[in-house]
Amino acid sequence: MNDAVMTSPIAAAAPRTSAWSRGFAHFRYVMTSNPVTFLAFVMLAAMIAVAVFGPSLVPHDPLATAADKALKPPTWQHWFGTDQLGRDVFSRVVVATRLDLLISVSAVALSFVCGALMGACAGYWGGWFDKLSGRMLDTIMAFPLFVLAMGIVAAAGNTIQNIVIATAIINLPFYARVARAEVSIRRNAGYVQAARLSGNSELRILIAKILPNTLPPMMVQLSLNMGWAILNAAGLSFIGLGVRPPTAEWGIMVAEGANYIVSGEWWLALFPGAALMLAVFTFNLLGDGLRDLVDPQRRT
């Protein structure tokens, strides 16, 4: 056949490379094309490293009290100073990273999976499930979300597991709505019809053909929600619902430190607050980069 018409010389010369090396090349492209994305990924990597290795590297025991060293301002020995019980604030901020990340990641993962499945089924099949799930999500959205989370934790009990579930429930509508919209516009796309002709079952079409194509907008939602979930977990601890003292957690530390700001001991609340802000900032910056990573159209 007449291939000269069909193929450019560049196309014919392109070598076959493995999926991994192509994936890496794409990652490198996304990182280099946008310095903000690169910064966000570096900050994320640093945060994960702190969460994993932090507890074994900190200079002081985050729970060890020392009455003689209470409320000391930052020094070379105690970088972020000490709190009212003489505990090292730096060590506590570092150790808290793991717990805060764990709560927010598992809460977001839970609402991502449940929300995406729920929204996808509603968008694909419509009908009574769509109506039922839609009204249920509206009900969740009708509450001030933080108050709803407070209510769930207060009713179900003050455990980490319940904080995760409460955070997941209040984030559920966002994922379900994005997934529903994205799936319903693709329900009768050409490639979906083609998949039907290829003998794929409806469930396989939804899970293997449509859902992966809805990832780019879901990723933006995911990274925004991550920051929000961290704030939410810290907020619950701040008002006394959630993680309980003496566990090191940014929200509790800010809450405890707040009492001492008036008397001039600013370091108690400032450093955990700054850590919290940095985490939220990182996740918000991450959104565009994550979307570009999972979008096949961005590959060449």
């Binding site: 007449n2 069909m6 196309a11 050409g190 019809q193 083609a194 998949a195 002709l197 290829s198 096949p296």
Partner: protein
Amino acid sequence: MSIHLHNPPLLAVRDLCVEFATRKGPVTAVRSVNLQVAKGETLGIVGESGSGKSVTSYAVMRILDRAGRIVSGGIEFGGMQLHDASEDMMSDLRGREISMIFQNPRAALNPIRTVGKQIEDVLIRHAQATHEQAKAKAIEALERVRIRDAARRYHAYPFELSGGMCQRVVIAIALACKPQLLIADEPTTGLDVTTQKAVMELVRELTRSEGMSTLLITHDLGLAGEYCDRIVVMEKGEVVEQQDTANLFTAPAHPYTRRLIRSTPHAAATIRDLMPDDQRLPLPPTMIVSAEPLLEVKNLVKQFDAPGGVLQRIKNRGKKEAGYRAVDNVSFSIARGESVGLVGESGCGKSTTSAMVMRLLDATAGSIRFKGQELTAVTAAAFARSPQRRELQMVFQDPHESLNPRATAAQSIADPLLRLEGMTNNAEIRARVEALATQVGLQHELLDRLPHQLSGGQKARVGIARAISTKPELLILDEPTAALDVSVQAVVLNLLADLKAEFGMSYLFVSHDLEVVRLLCDRVIVMRAGSIVESGPTAQVLSAPQAEYTRELLSAIPRPAHLPAHGAPVAEAVRA
């Protein structure tokens, strides 16, 4: 050309170069283009996708997107230098002196404003009317583009109007301020042939009566041949030929022009005539294996429910004609090895019919018998698991939209093998996929690419390879070449004819393009408003149509007088 030397041209483009910044560095889209449009002249720019014809017109309007810039060259319009004009000056010129009509009329109109208001906006912006007279002038503009009942249509929203009506409104907006130059960028692509004819004749008449110049950008050589005084042929960002229309068709100078004329189906007697001389193979034998029909469709009906909630349904209860009949009592049959063309304009029910035959949609009533077995017994939803699924396959209209953006070409082709043939061995699958790729003429190194990394023709081949991977007996081709350039269309049509001969498949070829149907089909069925208007052997229906509607369709096809008749050799004059 001599006439243009006496008067200064209205628009002169000199050595224009346009570059786009991309991920792989700058790409030159338009390279030293020279063209002139005289007062009152209609100039056609013809070329295939990527030829730079649209970019040239965008450069004239200075509406290139952010990545594009004019690197060098000049654009002179009525004594003004447009290539370095300020944005203020350009926005004053646009709409008043130079207007543009875009390809998709619905996208060009603001969906939440009435069409009358949109015409007023332009008039007021360019001080052609005050707020008081604007309405009257807008209605007058609508009347000029022959929209019936203009005073009432003034209040219509774009979604309430058909595609052809929307394009008329766009033309009304473009001509509202009586510009000197009208740029029409594929103004009728996506419109039916009869609508195309009406729109083009309207443009011709209005521009002539106002003495306007027109720049018609199109991929359709036939359209340019019928409506343009002079034609510029572009290829890969360069002008390869510039001639009066008559000369271009009778004595094309450049090999690319010759190839383009040859690929246009109007002049060809067989599909082999579409191909360049050195790539022409003997025709595949036409073979109808037996008269026993492979597919028999009887009294097929598809009724869509009327929209509305419970209340509406209660109101309509007992009424027979609630809802909309997309397909009404359609019967036809296809013999083994036969190819049947199903033609009609948009909304005639041809796609609904093919979707029901393909078992993607359940019929309301009627029977579809395939090899003697009733297909409607199994619902469309359950048909994926039917053993007959592999014998009925389809090639979709849009090669890009029908490929999963996340799947490589090989994964797309392998999908039916995995699901319908139950193949599990990866090496075997790869071997089959490569064999299929060879059959459709797709290089093996392209198999690991994602759809957006392939050209339109390559995507079409992937779609065809996927459809024939289970060796189906009936293949439905839903406008398989509508989105392709003519030269690629020529290649794909030939490929389809060869594959049919090789595998002994039957084709149901759904199309709006009668010229393509003429080349590929043994029999043709003409549909209108859900029913069959006429059917019979292709030669008979197209040369001596019985139905008035078929005659109307045939006469609407743009066929320039200079183009040789069917089967006549094209570039003989040049070679002599």
